[in-house]
């Protein structure tokens, strides 16, 4: 299979060695990062590995001439999302190692790995590895041709994709409201105070993990 892929591009392999190199580096970063996220026990390390993956993805974007998206990927993901993650990790103070071996249900992990592998195999089998795209090309505007990537993207977003673009506004509103609702501390009225205290006590009891050894 690999041979076929190689043969496909063997004629111009040298001319596009740079593309291959970029791909290989990106792939390495992605896989390393992903494996890191899945396997590392410290959440902070996981977040940092996530950054590596995100950079790798950005690299692959550039490799496929999605310049604008690569920039956004770095700005939004690496710049905002991961920072947010780190912030929350630190805020909650959960930057300790996770006891991966402690499992409430025995079958969970072997089954998880099995399912992940089987799903991957199935998808690859369905695509027969190299027969992925079979669609009508350029239905919402060509990617190649004159004009910069940003320009084409902008034009597409403001014409055919105007409505989804507007819809994202609603998402952001919800995000704002959600942040307000969920992170605001409850301002108890006088009558509710005692009840709240009770509740707080209760929930503190309730949330005490059954086994303190979990957090090493």
């Amino acid at each position: 299979m690999l041979a076929a892929l190689l043969a496909d591009s063997s004629g111009q392999a040298l001319a596009h060695a740079s593309a291959w190199a970029v791909f290989a580096v990106g792939a390495a970063m992605i896989l390393t990062g992903a494996l890191g996220v899945v396997l590392l026990r410290n959440p902070v390390h996981c977040a940092l590995m996530l950054v590596i993956t995100l950079f790798g993805i950005a690299l692959e974007f550039i490799d496929q001439s999605a310049d604008f998206l690569a920039a956004v990927q770095i700005i939004v993901y690496a710049g905002a999302v991961v920072i947010l993650f780190l912030f929350v990790i630190m805020f909650l103070g959960v930057d300790r190692k996770e006891a991966i071996s402690a499992e409430p249900t025995r079958f969970q992990r072997p089954l998880a790995v099995l399912l992940g592998v089987v799903a991957l195999v199935e998808i690859l089998a369905l695509s027969r590895i190299d027969h992925w795209s079979a669609g009508t090309p350029s239905q919402s505007g060509a990617l190649s041709g004159p004009g910069s990537n940003v320009q084409k993207l902008g034009q597409a977003i403001y014409t055919g994709y105007l409505l989804p673009f507007e819809m994202t506004a609603a998402l952001l509103v919800i995000a704002v409201v959600a942040a307000v609702v969920l992170s605001r501390r409850h301002q108890p009225s006088a009558s509710e105070m005692s009840e709240l205290d009770q509740e707080e006590l209760l929930s503190a009891r309730r949330f005490t993990p059954p086994d303190q050894g979990d957090q090493s």
């Binding site: 791909f23 692959e60 496929q64 939004v76 996770e98 991966i100 998880a112 994202t168």
Partner: protein, 101 residues
């Protein structure tokens, strides 16, 4: 001719599978959430690759939307996690199972 798109797509599929597996085996809620981000990134990569394959701008536009959704999801998700785990030492998904049966 650059790298055949199948490479990218297989890479994306692997990333997606890794993310899904990670979600299933990790106990830390935040890490589980990161795994979801991995899956979304796999999807993004798939979109971009198809976009190139089909010579269609639509795929890239979709990535744009996925990015926005992911950002909103992160905000809401982290807000929920913070609200839930503010008073606690560990953010383990297994500790929350009052509701069951």
């Amino acid at each position: 001719m650059s790298v055949p798109s199948a490479w990218y797509l297989v890479l994306a599929a692997v990333l997606f599978g890794l993310g899904a597996t990670g979600l299933l085996i990790r106990r830390n809620v935040l890490v589980m959430f990161m795994c979801i981000e991995l899956m979304l990134n796999a999807v993004n990569l798939t979109f971009v690759t198809f976009s190139r394959d089909l010579n269609d701008i639509g795929g890239q536009v979709n990535v744009f939307f996925v990015l926005v959704v992911a950002a909103a999801e992160v905000v809401v998700g982290l807000a929920i996690i913070v609200a839930m785990f503010r008073r606690r030492a560990a953010a383990t998904a297994d500790d929350i199972h009052i509701l069951k049966g």
